[in-house]
């Protein structure tokens, strides 16, 4: 199977100037497929071109103060600090917190390439690009796993 056969369409995107708070809200109300919960990541488009990707981890990273990230001071934080810090960075622009070096695949990429990337870079999702480097879809780790399930079992769960 190839990337384009299991990718899902990208319905919602962010822009570099979206604030962190808006991004969190957009991710909260967005739906993927038949899902009922919000999404855990979104791509950032600048004039239609892929500029970055934001995941829950990027948002956490933006909230954690740099001095904690640099050191082992976690034990000395206090109750309510995370919430406090979240409010402090609410107005940050997405371009400041997004992952800029996005790992992508082409439409015709074999699933093995996608699986390899997912494991190597601890990814949850990979944007799929067409020949003009425009995003045409997204591959999720769960859909890839689904392909494995189908390879090992038929629809009735036998084999």
């Amino acid at each position: 199977m190839k990337a384009k056969e299991i990718m899902e369409p990208v319905k919602e995107t962010l822009t570099p100037k979206t604030t962190l708070k808006d991004a969190v809200n957009r991710m909260r109300i967005a739906r993927r497929g038949k899902g009922w919960a919000g999404v855990k990541g979104m791509i950032v488009l600048d004039n239609g071109n892929l500029a970055g990707i934001v995941s829950i981890k990027d948002i956490l990273r933006a909230i954690i103060p740099s001095y904690l990230a640099l050191t082992e001071l976690g034990e000395f934080t206090w109750d309510g600090m995370l919430e406090e810090m979240a409010k402090k960075v609410a107005d940050k622009k997405i371009e400041e917190i997004m992952t800029r070096d996005v790992i992508t695949v082409s439409e015709d990429a074999p699933l093995m390439e996608c699986a390899d990337l997912v494991v190597k870079h601890s990814l949850q999702r990979i944007p799929v690009l067409d020949k003009d480097k425009k995003v045409v879809g997204m591959i999720y780790i769960r859909d890839m796993y689904q392909a494995i399930v189908q390879a090992l079992f038929d629809k009735e769960g036998k084999r």
């Binding site: 001095y67 904690l68 001071l73 000395f76």
Partner: protein, 456 residues
């Protein structure tokens, strides 16, 4: 005849090699100051040019005590970096910082004072950048906990580290370089500079209170956050911590005694680094060694070669003749000129290349004033001593003047910016410049009183 005497007595001609070396020197320093190219890159390339263009023989650059790399400085720096790199993961420094904050009982002004004192003391034994790198993260955490502006704390720490570093031979690179060139031992610095720094530090704490005392207020319930912290949680590796403290004590005792037993400071530090590496039981020293500040080390090596070049062609001698023309050989005037010129120069340019240039200049000058003296009789001439101490005080304390005056300042500003708090050039100078002026003024009075009035 000592090697120093040999160089200084050599006649010099302003020929092709004189101008070649001078141009390399000036261009290199201009590039370093402009920050257009990384200073280490400049130093390495300019040093290579000095050898390629036959200003210096490679043998002189690598092996001559007078013209080449000062391995005493290099190995002292390397060894101290290895010791600190091994010590860092134990959590010792975080422990001290949290403990200090608790001693301050959550009162911001008390915490700032205690942090300034701790920074100064640590800086006297570690390099300044390391000290602020270790303390600044905890400072930012404490400021967040108390919901106060961290900038005054960070500026106070940068200033305190530059002051504290002046107190000992190993506290600040200028002192390491001066000690190596002028053959001073650890106790010479303790005896001559530490008293000055204690007075300077007291005055600095007083100014801190005036500058920031009224601005810092904290809601009582926030102080609780500090008091609830348990500094013991910071210790990650108690066994390695004990080994580190054991080795560190040996090293400090070694520094105190190295003059008596005729060891160079670098030998003491190298022994400490080797011993701690051995005790750490590491099978993979790669990581510890990779974390050495190699750019700094190579900056020093390059600078030593560049300076060797201009010493050899006589530029430094020419400069020393010019200085003598201004001071007419009056050593009090020379000390004062050295102190204030060094302070102003170090406020704007890196004090390491500055001191690297001044060391041979002072020696050349001394040769001209006392042509019959050699070796330690020349270097430790009672009339010359205050000039060395003025160079150290001026060059180290001058670093406080501006945001770019010392590496500790640059590091603190960088860390603050990463934490989303910008410290502008002007804001740093608003605090740094008065502190520099006052501390250099106190040092001036100290030098005058101690060496020219009391003569002790």
């Amino acid at each position: 005849m000592t090697p120093e005497a040999a160089t200084a007595s050599q006649p010099f001609v302003m020929g092709a090699s004189f101008w070649t070396a001078t141009i390399i020197f000036l261009l290199a320093y201009a590039l370093i100051i402009s920050e257009k190219v990384h200073k280490t890159v400049v130093a390495i390339f300019a040093a290579a040019l000095m050898i390629v263009l036959k200003i210096l023989e490679q043998k002189e650059a690598f092996h001559s005590e007078v013209l080449g790399i000062d391995w005493n400085v290099i190995f002292l720096l390397l060894s101290m970096m290895i010791i600190i790199n091994l010590m860092k993961p134990t959590g010792f420094f975080e422990y001290i910082a949290i403990k200090s904050a608790k001693l301050g009982k959550g009162e911001p002004m008390r915490i700032m004072t205690i942090f300034a004192i701790v920074t100064a003391i640590l800086s006297a034994f570690l390099d300044n950048v390391t000290t602020v790198l270790l303390l600044a993260p905890v400072t930012l955490l404490i400021a967040d906990a108390l919901e106060v502006d961290p900038i005054p704390f960070l500026i106070a720490e940068a200033l305190a580290s530059n002051i504290g570093g002046t107190a000992t031979l190993i506290g600040d690179p200028p002192n390491i370089m001066i000690a190596s060139k002028a053959h001073f031992d650890f106790m010479d610095f303790i005896y001559n500079l530490t008293p000055a720094i204690i007075v300077v530090m007291a005055a600095f704490l007083f100014i801190l209170k005036i500058m920031f005392g009224k601005k810092l207020h904290v809601r009582p319930e926030l102080k609780q956050r500090i008091l609830e912290m348990d500094e013991r949680d910071a210790i990650k590796d108690p066994i390695m911590l004990k080994k580190s403290l054991f080795v560190l004590s040996i090293v400090i005792i070694g520094f105190v005694l190295h003059g008596t037993f005729n060891y160079e400071p670098a030998t003491v530090a190298l022994f400490g680094a080797g011993l701690l590496l051995l005790l750490s039981g590491t099978h993979e020293p790669h990581h510890v060694l990779a974390e050495i500040e190699w750019p700094t080390i190579f900056f020093f090596m390059g600078l030593f070669i560049i300076i060797g070049g201009v010493v050899k062609v006589g530029l430094i001698k020419w400069m020393s003749i010019e200085v003598l023309a201004i001071t007419h050989g009056n050593m009090f005037a020379t000390s004062m000129l050295m102190m204030w010129f060094s302070a102003v120069a170090s406020a704007f340019v890196d004090n390491i290349p500055y001191v690297a240039t001044m060391n041979p200049l002072i020696i050349d000058m001394a040769h001209q004033i006392w042509p019959h003296l050699q070796g330690l009789k020349l270097l430790h001439n009672p009339e010359l001593m205050p000039v060395w101490w003025s160079l150290s005080l001026g060059a180290c304390l001058g670093g406080n003047g501006t945001a770019i005056g010392a590496s500790a300042n640059v590091i603190v500003i960088g860390l603050a910016e990463r934490a989303g708090k910008k410290i502008s050039f002007i804001r740093f100078m608003a605090y740094g410049m008065p502190v520099m002026m006052l501390t250099v003024l106190i040092s001036t009075i100290y030098i005058w009183l101690r060496y020219y009035i009391l003569k002790i």
